[in-house]
């Protein structure tokens, strides 16, 4: 991509406008809100509108500003370490997300592999079939599973009918339902980058391996898997990072003992109306996710440079 960067000519007014419009929008609506979240996470909860103190008002003059600055404290963060609910939520979010990512990979890899190996003529159709569920509502797709997983739901009815089980399995409102929900909702995110890297794979390498007497499973292990690794990594990040902060799936499919930080934050904000603590929860969540997010971006950059 470096090759088509503009020559070092002087930038026109127009190109400055082109850069600054989306830049300013993102600074105001993406970066500035994080600074506000950080500031409120250092504030104290209060029965007021807005429900925290201090509020900064530059009209009060500098003295008030410095006083307010002094009133900020780390009390909310200390609170997060003291109450077991929070660190348990973080831990179980990361665990649930990691297990779900692994399961998604297990299910998604054969699909992507099958797509990349199918005749060229039907590949666009298969691609379309993977993308289509992604366009339909997330909420609807999670909702659809409630009817299937319920105690008197369709899955249990089918299994009872077939005589596999004698009494209904309890799946809804357990962590298993959360895994199913995450795998189902995020599957296209993993299949698409994986398919892209599998499709690019040079078939002659596999043929060479075969000619030299390498058994197929070994060829897969030594050639296909390592070469598809960029796709695997990109796909896993795309599943793992949003899954850690997932709210809808644990709320609708999980049980009361399913701890996930997105749900904890939601309850803290909407039910307890404790804005400072929910801000602190968000700041810590962001700090946990910063490392995978940065890794993901580097990966994306490397991949787009390889394309360019």
């Amino acid at each position: 991509m470096e090759a088509n960067t503009a020559p070092p000519k002087r930038r026109s007014l127009g190109s400055w406008a082109l850069i600054s419009a989306p830049y300013l929008w993102l600074l105001i609506f993406f970066l500035a809100p994080f600074l506000i979240v950080f500031k409120i996470s250092l504030s104290e909860v209060a029965i007021a509108i807005p429900p925290y103190i201090p509020t900064f008002d530059l009209a009060d003059g500098w003295q008030a500003f410095w006083d307010n600055l002094g009133a900020l404290s780390l009390a909310n963060y200390v609170w997060l370490t003291e109450d077991a609910l929070y660190w348990k939520s973080y831990l179980s979010s990361v665990t649930i997300a990691a297990i779900s990512t692994f399961l998604t990979l297990l299910i998604g890899y054969p699909i992507a592999y099958g797509m990349a190996r199918s005749p060229r003529s039907i590949r666009p159709t298969l691609l379309m079939l993977v993308i289509l569920p992604f366009w339909t509502s997330f909420l609807i797709r999670v909702y659809a599973w409630i009817g299937i997983l319920k105690n008197e739901g369709l899955l249990n009815q089918l299994l009872l009918l077939l005589g596999v089980i004698d009494e209904p399995l309890v799946i809804l409102n357990t962590n298993i339902a959360v895994y199913i929900g995450i795998v189902y909702s995020y599957l296209p995110f993993l299949v698409l980058p994986l398919y892209a890297s599998l499709e690019r794979l040079d078939g002659s390498l596999l043929e060479a391996a075969e000619d030299l007497g390498c058994p197929p499973w070994k060829a897969f292990w030594k050639i296909t898997l390592p070469l598809s690794l960029p796709g695997v990594i990109a796909g896993c990040f795309l599943v793992f990072i949003p899954a850690v902060g997932e709210f809808v799936i644990p709320d609708l499919l999980g049980g009361s003992d399913t701890l996930m930080i997105g749900k904890t934050l939601w309850v803290e904000f909407f039910n307890n109306r404790d804005w400072p603590v929910s801000s602190a929860v968000a700041v810590i969540l962001l700090m946990i996710l910063v490392i995978p997010i940065v890794l993901f971006q580097n990966q994306q950059q490397k991949m787009s440079e390889a394309d360019g």
């Binding site: 503009a6 993102l26 809100p33 005749p119 379309m128 509502s137 078939g203 795309l238 709210f247 801000s279």
Partner: protein, 275 residues
């Protein structure tokens, strides 16, 4: 990688696609269920669709959602396309890595964080919450998706035509509308559609940033789902699924046709040159 399909590949595709589609198919089937109990089949009926038309709250919510989605997708497409041009064309400038970071981060950022942070911004700005705040919030995260979609279209773009136009004295803005935009148009349309469906679909960010009088359809569906599964919700979901499916398939046919047409034009142009 073109070798004959093996049994393993066919099985994994069939199982994979059944997994992806079965839940949605079941949901659609049960929206035509006569019985109020979602899991007991009581015969074919369209009564839940009829009762939807009576449900004014739901219709109101649907109308709000459509307006938010239309406005935010349109604004997001303009800003997202600009951002894509900046990412691909502007070379180095001060704060470039911050810029690309702000484009990619919202794609994976948990929605609860985006929602909370935007709400706190609106509170700090003392902005009354409702239609416009949801619209601004949706525009912000949707423009990043648009930027990524348009960017992928721009990367494989032949710059020589733009350069030719500029050498002939065509002003940059005119060059963009006459040459660049028609070529990247499929990406821009796909970006708009993605932004539209993301906005249509969003529950978490809308719940944080909305105010009185601006309840969106996903919020309405969510509060009903918490009370239990009903055929009426199945009917709403079916309508949404059908609309989105028609939209996506229609768009892909149109872009396909355009692509074929353009390739034919290009071949014709080069053919004339040769002769």
């Amino acid at each position: 990688m073109t070798r004959g399909p093996t049994w393993f590949n066919i099985t994994s595709l069939v199982l994979g696609f059944s997994f992806l589609y079965l839940p949605i198919v079941l949901l659609v089937i049960y929206s035509f269920n006569e019985s109020r109990l979602v899991t007991v089949w009581g015969g074919f009926s369209t009564k839940w669709y009829a009762s939807l038309l009576q449900n004014e709250q739901l219709l109101d919510a649907a109308w709000v959602t459509l307006r938010v989605a239309f406005v935010s997708a349109s604004v997001a497409t303009v800003f997202g396309t600009m951002a894509a041009l900046v990412l691909v064309r502007s070379g180095r400038f001060f704060g470039r890595s911050l810029f690309s970071g702000m484009i990619f981060a919202p794609l994976v950022m948990p929605e609860v964080i985006l929602g909370l942070s935007l709400l706190l911004l609106f509170v700090a700005m003392d902005q009354a919450r409702g239609f416009w705040t949801v619209m601004l919030a949706h525009t912000t995260f949707a423009m990043c998706y648009v930027a990524v979609v348009v960017q992928s279209r721009l990367v494989g773009f032949d710059k020589s035509m733009e350069e030719a136009a500029e050498d002939l004295g065509c002003p940059p803005v005119k060059t963009f509308f006459l040459i660049t935009l028609p070529i990247i148009l499929p990406g821009v349309i796909a970006g708009w559609m993605l932004a539209f469906t993301l906005s249509l679909d969003d529950l978490v960010i809308a719940s944080f940033t909305t105010g009185p009088g601006a309840t969106t359809l996903p919020m309405k569906i969510y509060s009903q789902v918490r009370l239990g599964v009903t055929p009426e919700i199945n009917a709403v979901c079916t309508i949404l699924v059908v609309l989105v499916t028609i939209g996506v398939i229609a768009a892909s046919i149109v872009t396909k046709r355009q692509q074929v047409q353009r390739e034919r034009d290009e071949r014709a142009a080069f053919g004339n040159e040769a002769s």
